[in-house]
Symmetry: D2
Subunit: 315 residues, 4 copies
């Protein structure tokens, strides 16, 4: 809680990586999707891109990994652009849950509709809103490539097949929602799109570019081109604050205080309002499914660079 | 979602009040505490104080009402100052719940500890941390008067007695926590302090003064005196974002986007980072326990004055 | 609660039918399986077979209907005979749930294993234990025909296809169990067997014959041939007492007091220990899924013929 | 599951005690009520009284212990006699819960009313129906003494005070029910009666006498005097079957098959229809709160003496 004197971004990143590495042994690589189990728990990488275009990076920042739940933010942008506000929020709410990302309970006890688009059930329902497009996944990939500024982004086919084959719990949620008439299409169709979205292969640089677009209100700071509507950016960042880190979102908001979204592939993407985009990556996860190393990198950067949205001004 | 051109605060307040009044018939005065049932559902008031000290107000801004759950934010400040971070957060978590403010379920199914200090169970547990003081409620009142800048703030004795007599559901929560060794004192002691805290009588001006202190990072902008430590302000405002509006917190964050806390007495207090404090009041409540009129006043002000923390800059 | 003087079975049935008909307007035909919606809510039938072989019947006793959940008792016999006690009860418990027949909640909050074989999830898990047979459904049909004493019992193909196509909630449960490694086979395989079992077409006479076999400790009273092992009969009848009537089992036990099993096809089958088997049928269901008319027929017969297992002896 | 040849009751009891003693090390004495922690985990006793008045006993059959939850059956008789069927069952249901005896969850999620009178919440609600009597506990003691056939039965004052002082979870339930207008009196009044009822001191002989009255349809077999109305006996025994052994009721029904009720004081009371009453006692409890030793004594007696209600007749 002490506030260090002024420090350069390079130095902050350097210290953050050293700090974060000490926590890696506390984490474990995800095993519930067989393909993810191949991750190297010692990897750690970070990329930070400021609004003026300066790129900082360290460690395994060029390692490709699957985007997993971070795709839920792009899926939401995609669905709001494609199907509109009314349709999407007739399927899914905007409230945090207090339950784990793959919990089914609230679908039965609280409300038939998933509580928000950042949990699995909510993302599946959100994905189901985009089925009237001719090639939903193709259009999703176009959007993803634009947001990340890299044309060569691809699906990781073996992770996709692995998720599709083993994702029984997601399948269970999807059928429960189909049973309650919440999906806009058959469960298997929505699941297939969802599994594909989760299996897109990215690097920290890709995600940092996407994050700085969100930080800059949806406009690519390099070109000045608007990629996402202002009202959509606001919704997405707000949901990242309240629900972006699974059932650890409240603690992350308190300790780090940056709109962020994590994925079980080991990535976390974070948008510092009007300043920068950050992405960190490390396959070792904590019990809630957040990357231990990436979390600590962001925690350290937030404290030393005063990135918390309520950091205040005085030292 | 349209962004109006520049507008004065006076005009924005004037329009907000007219807009909000049209929603009053949708609400109902709280009846579960007998004394609250006397509220006038047609009342509506607002007070806004900027960091430079200008005060704006309209409607029933001088009406006294009981602070109710807004006291949970002061209770948390009080407990963090008195008992410290470690003690308080060993009793209560920081996660949103997705359940109603008076829900008991998660105490049994998810974790013995209440999920956050903004729900009733969490506030009772937080209050129990302050019992080693000689006069806990006296010290709480001192803090409240300093934060609100009014020495004459008093307890509403009849509301206090009414709550104490009728608050069986809160009593149930307190005994369940005592059974699980979560309280630092006997249930009835913690409840008595909790009921007193909820029954403090305030006006929108009191709460707007308190809100601008939080907006100014804990420093009274008039005197330059620090009233609350920086790290505590950060925690409180973060919890206001994620949990401040009961199980409507997610929707409020999306639509209004100001750290805020509401109470069933009809008040909502909101802190616009580095800019202003706002408090609105109207006894007619929606189904989640938030004041219908105060909510709409804040929604309108947020849109016209661009107060959302992710408002962005472009028009 | 008055105890009438001695009355003949014919007269009791006659009165029971008249009594039960007055309740039919309270019920509604099941609609969640499209094919079931064709049922005629005014139908009512009963068949009663005593241990000495006398057959009594009235109303629509010859009407064919699908066995639905009554098949859960045969499925349990089948699995215990095929896979054994240890295997079956490693998959499913023996406790009542207090929840509705198609509830998913307890699979997540209480225990991964379904609480008993009389709810949908439990029956699907039970069915999955029989997959090592060459033709599981063929063997199940053989058993069903022997227990009911009719070689010509058939599958209702259109109900089976309708259930298979529309049974999304059952599908959700099955995938959740597969995710938790509770099923002995793929979800779709277990579901297919389950849907077939539920879609067998029977009459009240078929079920009354089956019921008298259970009442006679597993031995066909006509031939003296043992069809079900003694220890299996005991388990099945015990579960019929505690869980046979969905979440209305407790009330049925109190008011009627005969081991029984109901199905949403409109049938209820009941075994009066050492005395008789009874089956009643009426497609109009109450809110818990039990046939309104069949329930009332059994209630009336229990009172007038003193069939409650704790009826006592004195008048 | 083998059926031994004919065996005398003496021999069966002798073998049952030896069999049961081998399980005692698996249990633990209850500690959540401080006074109960003094129990001796090595104690084991049994008393069996046949309808013709023969008394069998072994071990610590004369040891006094507190009746605890077994009093819930007498409380129900008492309330049905005092306040009537309609009143009692407007407060409490008759369905098994599948949850632990002290669970609160269903009071919030399923129904405001406790699911049955055999769980703590249900017994407190049942007790609250008897408050119009001048001396409710005095009248309850009169009934208890008559049912057990011993005038000298007394309250264990120190257990009562210990429960009253430490029973925070029961207090929590009572206030939740008062909040929902389910109690007929103030929570503390209902709790006081409930704690007293649980603290009555009995022996296995007392409970066996009570059990044989129930087995004999409410009539004292020695005197021919009716002590409990027929319809009340039927309700009580039915609830003993479905809910008498906490969330182990289903397993007990399957394996033992005698209407029974257990208490955390270490006693279990069981009524074999039209034949005998049995009570066993041992302070070492299993995880569900049932006496390990008493459970095993009853299991052994049920098998060797063929006491299961669905024992059948053939060997």
């Amino acid at each position: 809680r002490k506030c260090p004197s002024v420090i350069s971004i390079e130095q902050a990143i350097d210290e953050a990586m050293r700090y974060a590495r000490t926590f890696l042994p506390e984490g474990k690589v995800a095993t519930y999707i067989p393909e993810l189990a191949h991750g190297d728990p010692d990897q750690l990488g970070v990329c930070l891109i400021t609004k003026d275009g300066t790129v900082y990076h360290d460690g395994d920042w060029r390692q490709e990994f699957t985007i997993q739940s971070i795709s839920k933010t792009i899926c939401l942008i995609f669905a709001l652009q494609t199907a509109g506000y009314e349709k999407v929020f007739s399927k899914v709410g905007v409230e945090p849950t207090g339950d784990a990302f793959n919990s089914i309970v609230k679908l039965e006890t609280k409300t038939l509709h998933p509580l928000n688009p950042m949990i699995n059930a909510g993302a599946i329902a959100t994905a189901s809103c985009c089925m009237e497009l001719e090639d939903p996944f193709g259009s999703f990939m176009d959007l993803t490539r634009r947001l990340c500024g890299r044309e060569s982004i691809q699906l990781n086919e073996s992770v996709y097949l692995s998720e599709k084959k083993s994702g029984m719990r997601n399948r269970s949620m999807a059928y429960l929602m189909q049973s309650d008439n919440i999906l806009e299409c058959d469960a298997e169709l929505a699941l297939d799109l969802y599994f594909r979205m989760c299996s897109v292969s990215v690097t920290t640089e890709d995600l940092a570019r996407y994050a700085v677009v969100l930080a800059n209100d949806g406009v690519d700071p390099a070109t000045g081109e608007r990629l996402v509507e202002n009202w959509i950016v606001r919704i997405v960042k707000t949901l990242m604050v309240t629900c972006g880190m699974y059932d650890g979102s409240g603690e992350f908001a308190m300790k780090v205080g940056i709109p962020a979204k994590s994925g079980v592939g080991g990535g976390i993407m974070a948008s510092v309002e009007d300043r920068m985009g950050i992405a960190a990556f490390g396959p070792a996860l904590d019990a809630k499914g957040n990357s231990v190393g990436a979390y600590r990198v962001l925690e350290y950067l937030s404290q030393t660079l005063r990135l918390h949205y309520f950091a205040g001004k005085d030292l």
